[in-house]
């Protein structure tokens, strides 16, 4: 292996590491937001329904149920956040889930349209970032 080869490979691994950090930061941020929304929905469902102009939740129970499922989803996402390259499944499912949720929130309407916009933006960002990460990882291998 020449010095130039070593330099090239080393530089690619550094890029992969940078992409990994960027992806994990992005995913970490969305998981923190998701956890915060989930906790508020569980603890203060009526307040959240009013503050976020949620579409006529018939009872606090449904908002709480939504909140707890957001929390569970965030938990199940964690392995993907810890090892994004080796544990790919949660990341792929998570990105798909964000697109699906965005559509569902648009359908629900009212204040949830802001949630839809948020999910859509971060679904695209995560998809792009994850693709970059995987490409960098693959290219870093000899």
């Amino acid at each position: 292996m020449t010095d130039a080869d070593a330099l090239t490979i080393g530089s690619t691994q550094a890029q992969a590491a940078t992409r990994r950090i960027a992806y994990r930061r992005l995913l970490g941020f969305t998981l923190i937001v998701q956890t915060a929304v989930g906790l508020i929905a569980v603890v203060l469902p009526i307040w959240l329904a009013r503050a976020a102009d949620l579409p006529g939740p018939p009872s606090s129970g449904w908002v709480q149920l939504w909140g707890v499922m957001l929390l569970i989803m965030a938990t199940l996402y964690l392995p993907g956040c810890i090892e994004p390259v080796h544990v790919r499944w949660p990341n792929v499912v998570g990105i798909v889930a964000r697109f699906v949720l965005a559509v569902a929130y648009v359908r629900l309407g009212q204040g949830l349209r802001w949630f839809a916009l948020y999910e859509l933006v971060f679904a695209v960002a995560l998809a792009w970032s994850y693709r970059q990460l995987l490409r960098a990882e693959l290219m870093s291998r000899p």
Binding site: V42, P55, G56, P57, P58, S59, G61, W62, Q64, L65, W66, V68, M69, L70, L71, I72, M73, T75, L76, Y77, L78, P79, I82, V87, W89, P90, V93, G94, V96, A97, V100, L101, A104, R107, L108
Partner: protein, 621 residues
């Protein structure tokens, strides 16, 4: 490889294999439940008995999330060894869902049970598999099988408990109007005191010979509004709620709504909050226990009568035959025995009740002290106005409590509500409703000049105790002074007061306002035209009679009629002979203990003209 190691590895394989199978089962379960919930949302909500949802997209969103969550479980289902985090998190999340739903409670427990069904066996399998992996080199499992068995038993017990909670959670009908809620809403006694609806509607048919008249429950003066079918619909004062099965239970309105006709041929009107002049609670309770004791109270007699009115599946029939009918029979017989003491006292009759002795001897576990608490039912309107007249105005005939909140809660307890199903929001709603409920205006239009003169007579003779600004209005007047029957006052003892203030059954109810003041409350006159018969024991039929000296008041009269007496005040109440009960109503005998019509002689010495004027004025309330 030793035999022990081989066994350990094969056990590991079995446990892991079952874990994967259970993971896949959970994933498929999530997807199926999600798809079915999205396609048949209202039906699934009804089946799960959870809150109705409008718009339906909320439960559909939840269903979609359930499916999305299933996607996260797939790595653990494919290879739990390679995806240990995913496997552990999958199980943890199932338990998180279970715990959360158990905390939220209500019918949402069903979602927790769903997670538990998969989470518990998955956890056990995962534990076994990893125990074997980490076992000692000789392959011994360090008792992990026993632990797993115990965990399995615990899981089955927890599931059974959750299922029981879910099945016995009340499904309460919603009422947009406070008045409808007051008339037909649940106060939290459905599970403990409710009778399964099919049995309840069949009892008047099976036990018709125990009814005073062939009118179903209307024979006890229970009130059916226009358009309601007495054969199958609940009367006013009964809630129909589902606690396992649909049940009928009384609420506040049974004693606090009256039916009145302005003339014998007039359409009946219903006045919420008024004393239920026609309702014979004791007769109703006796009917229930007598019917339960009857040879006809059997599945063979009841089930055909039930099936004639409601649709019963084969499972319903089996449940009623072998579980519910025997159980209800036993409970009604016990209830009859609990109220046997009342047979040794004068009958309550329609519009009357002994409200506190059942509480003393039942709820508070005090010994039968031979007291008689028979009282007229009371109107419960204008509670805010009462407090404007006098802060902490006394409530009940003898003012035994002065907190509306405590009276509402204790009344629900007296009606059979229990801590585990107590409905505090319902109590608050009733509290708010009654505080703002005005008494209906008098329909009587006496001579205006007489009314004006009567006003003066009232001011001179009655206002001190009955005018809103009277200095003794809404105070407790000593029995020695007012002179009315003493039994109701004697019934409420210091012992009972202390026992109720210290009542902690099921929870700390926070009672502190029960008290003992020997006397009766001087009530304001709002709604006076609907309050007859008069005095705390309902022993004087009309206002005109009340202005006569006790010796000249009717010794026996018919109670329970609903025609308003526009001339005398109160309800039409002809004289009767207690030895022969009338075809309609109940012959009330003032010579029986507790029924004395003595006392309250204010105004009895007025001239006939003054009495006429005073009566004219009183008829305007």
């Amino acid at each position: 490889m030793s035999t022990a190691t081989t066994t350990a590895h094969s056990t590991e394989d079995v446990a892991l294999r079952w874990f994967r199978r259970l993971m896949w089962a959970g994933i498929i379960g999530n997807v199926i439940v999600g798809i079915v919930s999205i396609a048949y949302t209202p039906q699934v909500l009804a089946l799960a008995k959870v809150d109705p949802a409008t718009p339906l997209v909320w439960p559909r969103l939840s269903a979609m999330l359930v499916m999305l969550l299933a996607g996260f479980y797939i790595p653990a289902a494919i290879d739990p060894n390679a995806h240990r985090f995913a496997a552990v998190f999958a199980v943890v999340c199932r338990f998180a869902g279970t715990i959360f739903m158990a905390v939220v409670g209500g019918h949402y427990i069903i979602f927790g049970l769903f997670d538990f069904v998969f989470g518990a066996p998955q956890a056990i399998c995962l534990y076994l598999a990893w125990q074997r992996t980490n076992a000692a080199p000789d392959g011994r499992a360090s008792g992990s099988t026993i632990v797993a068995l115990l965990a399995g038993l615990l899981a089955v017990g927890a599931f059974a408990w959750g299922a029981f909670q879910w099945l016995t959670q009340p499904v309460l009908p919603a009422f947009a109007s406070d008045e409808e809620f007051f008339k037909y809403g649940s106060i939290g006694n459905d599970g403990a005191g409710g009778i399964p609806y099919p049995i309840w509607i069949a009892m008047p048919d099976v036990c018709a010979h125990h009814l005073p008249r062939p009118q179903g429950y209307a024979a006890f003066g229970l009130l059916y509004e226009r358009g309601r079918n007495p054969a199958i619909d609940p009367p006013i004062g009964f809630s129909r709620a589902k606690v396992g099965v649909e049940r009928m239970a009384i609420n506040c309105a049974v004693c606090h709504t009256v039916r009145a006709r302005l003339a014998a041929d007039a359409e009946p009107q219903f006045y919420v909050g008024a004393a239920a002049n026609t309702v014979d609670i004791q007769g109703y309770l006796r009917f229930l226990s007598r019917c339960a004791a009857d040879d006809r109270f059997t599945p063979d007699q009841l089930i055909p009568a039930m099936a004639a009115k409601v649709k019963l599946s084969w499972l319903d029939r089996l449940t009623y035959r072998f579980v519910l009918i025997p159980f209800v029979r036993r409970r009604l017989l016990e209830q009859g025995e609990d109220l046997a003491w009342a047979s040794r006292r004068p009958a309550w009759g329609p519009g009357r009740i002994d409200p506190f002795n059942p509480v003393k001897f039942g709820m508070l576990h005090l010994a039968d002290d031979e007291t008689i608490g028979n009282s007229d039912m009371q109107a419960v309107w204008n509670l805010n106005a009462r407090e404007q007249i006098r802060a902490s105005a006394p409530l009940h005939w003898d003012g035994l409590n002065n907190s509306v909140r405590e009276v509402v809660i204790s009344s629900a307890l007296g009606d059979g509500a229990v801590a585990r199903e107590f409905n505090f929001p319902a109590m608050e709603r009733i509290d708010r409703f009654l505080r703002a409920l005005p008494p209906p205006l008098s329909p009587h239009r006496p001579d205006a000049a007489a009314v004006e003169r009567g006003k003066m007579v009232f001011a001179a003779n009655c206002a001190e105790c009955h005018a809103p600004d009277g200095k003794r209005t809404l105070t407790v007047i000593p029995v020695a002074e007012v002179g009315t029957d003493i039994n109701r006052s004697h019934m409420w003892t210091e012992l009972a007061r202390d026992a109720y203030n210290n009542f902690r059954e099921g929870r700390d109810w926070g009672f502190k306002s029960f008290r003992k003041i020997p006397g009766y409350v001087a009530e304001p006159l709002g709604g006076l035209w609907l309050n007859g018969p008069y005095l705390h024991n309902g022993s004087v039929p009309t206002l005109r009679d009340l202005l006569e000296p006790p010796a000249q008041r009717p010794a026996a009269f018919v109670r329970g009629l609903d025609v308003v007496d526009a001339r005398n005040g109160g309800f039409v109440a002809p004289s009767c002979d207690p030895r022969q009960q009338p075809a309609e109503g109940f012959c009330f005998d003032t010579r029986l203990v507790g029924n004395d019509n003595d006392g309250h002689v204010y105004g009895t010495a007025l001239s006939a003209a003054e009495k006429g004027d005073l009566l004219a004025y009183l008829l305007t309330f």
